[in-house]
C-alpha cells in the first residue's frame, strides 16, 4: 500500500438546484495530512465526500469535474464507486461501528465483503489494523466477546479507523473525527494520524478545530461559501495567510 496524491480540478457539486462547490482545484500531496477548514456550510464535508464518491449517495445530488487518486480517475467511465471506496477509507464525525457485530467482525467486515475468507490471514489483518489504530491493547481480550457499540466513544472512533484501514486504502478521509470526543480521545486520534502518516497513508481531515489542523496537518485548505480560498502549508495559513478572508477566519474576525 502506498499513499497516493489527489488531483482535483474544476470540481463542482450540487444538492438539487443549490450549488455547494465551485470550481475547486487542489493538489493534495501523497503521504501527508491535509486539513480542510472553514465555517459551517462552506462545503468542506461535501468536498471530501466528492473524493470517494460519497456525495452521489445522497438523493438529488450531482458532481462535475475531475478527481484523480494517483492514476485512478475517480469519476471516470466504468469506475465503480465501491472500488473507489476500497482505495479511499472514510471516518465520520460520529463513530458508527456496526452495533451488533463484535469488535473483530467490525474490523473484518470490509475484508469479508471483498471475499476475504482465510481465517488466519483475517486474524493478522484485524490485529494489525487495531494496532495501527492504537486500540489493540485495550480490546485484545474482548475481540469476539464485546460488540463495537460497547466501547467508549473514543474507542469506537478508533475502531472505525481500524475498520477503515483494514482494507488497506491509499487515502483516508476523516470528517471531523474528533469533534464528538473528549480531549484524551482526541489526542489519541491525533497521535493516530501521525502514525498513519508514517504508514504512508494520504490523509485528508475536515475539522472545525483550527488548533487540531495546525497540530496534525502539513497542508491546509480554507473553504468559504463553496470556494477554496487558500491552500498552503499549514504554518503559512495559521501564521501569515495570503488572503484577507483566511486571516479573518483564523483570527475569529469572521462574520
Amino acid at each position: 500500500m502506498e499513499g497516493a496524491g489527489i488531483h482535483v480540478k474544476d470540481l463542482n457539486a450540487w444538492f438539487g438546484p443549490k450549488q455547494a462547490l465551485f470550481n475547486i482545484a487542489m493538489e493534495i500531496p501523497a503521504k501527508k495530512a491535509t486539513a480542510i477548514i472553514g465555517p459551517s456550510g462552506c462545503g468542506k464535508s461535501t468536498f471530501v465526500r466528492c473524493l470517494n464518491r460519497m456525495h452521489e449517495t445522497l438523493p438529488d445530488t450531482r458532481v462535475e469535474g475531475k478527481v484523480s487518486i494517483g492514476e485512478l480517475d475517480v469519476y471516470g467511465k466504468g469506475v465503480s464507486p465501491v472500488w473507489i471506496r476500497r482505495r479511499v477509507g472514510m471516518v465520520f464525525q460520529r463513530p458508527n461501528p456496526f452495533p451488533t457485530m463484535s469488535i473483530y467482525d467490525n474490523v473484518a467486515a470490509g475484508l469479508k465483503l471483498n471475499g476475504f475468507r482465510n481465517r488466519r490471514e483475517l486474524d493478522v489483518v484485524v490485529e494489525r489494523s487495531l494496532r495501527h489504530a492504537a486500540l489493540w491493547d485495550e480490546v485484545k481480550d474482548d475481540l469476539k466477546k464485546k460488540s463495537g457499540a460497547s466501547l467508549s466513544g473514543g474507542q469506537q472512533q478508533r475502531l472505525c479507523v481500524a475498520r477503515g484501514i483494514a482494507v488497506k486504502p491509499e487515502v483516508l478521509l476523516l470528517d471531523e473525527p474528533a469533534s464528538a470526543l473528549d480531549p484524551i480521545s482526541t489526542a489519541k486520534i491525533e497521535d493516530l494520524i501521525f502514525e498513519l502518516k508514517k504508514e504512508q497513508y494520504t490523509i485528508v481531515i475536515v475539522t472545525h478545530n483550527m488548533q487540531q489542523a495546525a497540530r496534525v496537518a502539513e497542508f491546509t485548505g480554507f473553504f468559504l461559501l463553496g470556494k477554496m480560498i487558500e491552500f498552503d502549508k499549514t504554518e503559512k495559513v495559521f501564521t501569515n495567510p495570503s488572503d484577507k478572508r483566511t486571516e479573518d477566519y483564523v483570527t475569529g474576525r469572521f462574520g
Partner: protein, 219 residues
C-alpha cells in the same frame, strides 16, 4: 466576532505602550542628568525602574493568558509574539537608562575630562529611534519601523567614534581614566538603546507583514 479576545489584544497594546513611555522617559531623564550632572534626576531613574519591571511582568502575564486562553492565529499570534519580544526590549531599555544614571552619579563626583564628543546628539538619535519604534507599534506603521532600522548604523558609528576619542584621551592623559570609562559606558548603553529600538522596529514589521527582517535579512 471574538470581542473579548480583541479587547484583550487592545489592552495588551495599551499596557505595552505605557511601558514604552516609561522606558523612553527613563532614557531621556538619564541623558538630561548626564548633561546637567544632576544626581537627583539619576535617583528618579533608579527609583522608577521598578515600575518598568512591574509592567514587564504584567505584559508577560497578559500575553501568556491570551496565548493559553484564546489560541490566537495569524496576525493575532504574530502580534502577541511581537509584544512578548518588545516587552523584553523595553525592559532592557529601562536597564540601560539605569546604567547611564549610575555612570552619571559617578561622573558627578569627578572633574569633566573635556572630551570633544557629542553624547547628547547620540542620545537624541537613540531616543528618537525608541520613540519612532513605539509610534510604529502604535499605528502598525511599517515604513516608520523601516526608517528606525536605517538609523541604527548611525548610532553604531557614533559609538565607534566615541570609543576612539576615549582611547586617544586615555593615551594622552593621566588621572581621568575613571571619567573616560564612565563616558564610554554611557555611549555603549546609548548604542544598546538604539539596538533595542531596532529590535522593536523589526518586531513591528514581523507583526504587520509577517516578514522576518532580523539580522539584515530582506528588509
Amino acid at each position: 466576532m471574538r470581542t473579548r479576545f480583541h479587547q484583550g489584544l487592545d489592552d495588551l497594546k495599551q499596557k505595552l505602550l505605557a511601558m514604552g513611555g516609561m522606558a523612553e522617559q527613563a532614557v531621556e531623564r538619564a541623558v538630561q542628568a548626564f548633561q546637567t550632572r544632576d544626581v537627583s534626576v539619576c535617583e528618579i531613574v533608579l527609583r522608577d525602574e521598578s515600575k518598568i519591571n512591574a509592567a514587564e511582568r504584567d505584559v508577560d502575564e497578559m500575553s501568556i493568558d491570551l496565548l493559553a486562553m484564546q489560541q490566537p492565529m495569524a496576525v493575532d499570534l504574530r502580534f502577541i509574539v511581537s509584544c512578548i519580544k518588545i516587552n523584553a526590549d523595553l525592559e532592557r531599555v529601562g536597564d540601560q537608562a539605569v546604567n547611564i544614571a549610575e555612570r552619571v552619579m559617578d561622573l558627578a563626583t569627578h572633574p569633566d575630562p573635556g572630551l570633544n564628543i557629542d553624547i547628547p546628539r547620540m542620545a537624541q538619535l537613540s531616543i528618537s529611534m525608541v520613540r519612532d519604534a513605539l509610534n510604529a507599534f502604535l499605528s502598525a506603521d511599517v515604513d516608520l519601523a523601516q526608517s528606525v532600522l536605517e538609523r541604527d548604523d548611525l548610532v553604531d558609528n557614533m559609538n565607534r567614534e566615541i570609543f576612539e576619542a576615549v582611547n586617544v584621551a586615555m593615551r594622552n592623559t593621566v588621572g581621568t581614566h575613571r571619567n573616560l570609562l564612565d563616558i564610554l559606558v554611557v555611549a555603549r548603553n546609548l548604542e544598546r538603546v538604539a539596538d533595542h529600538a531596532t529590535n522593536i522596529a523589526e518586531d513591528v514589521i514581523f507583526w504587520v507583514r509577517g516578514a522576518d527582517v532580523r539580522h539584515h535579512a530582506q528588509r
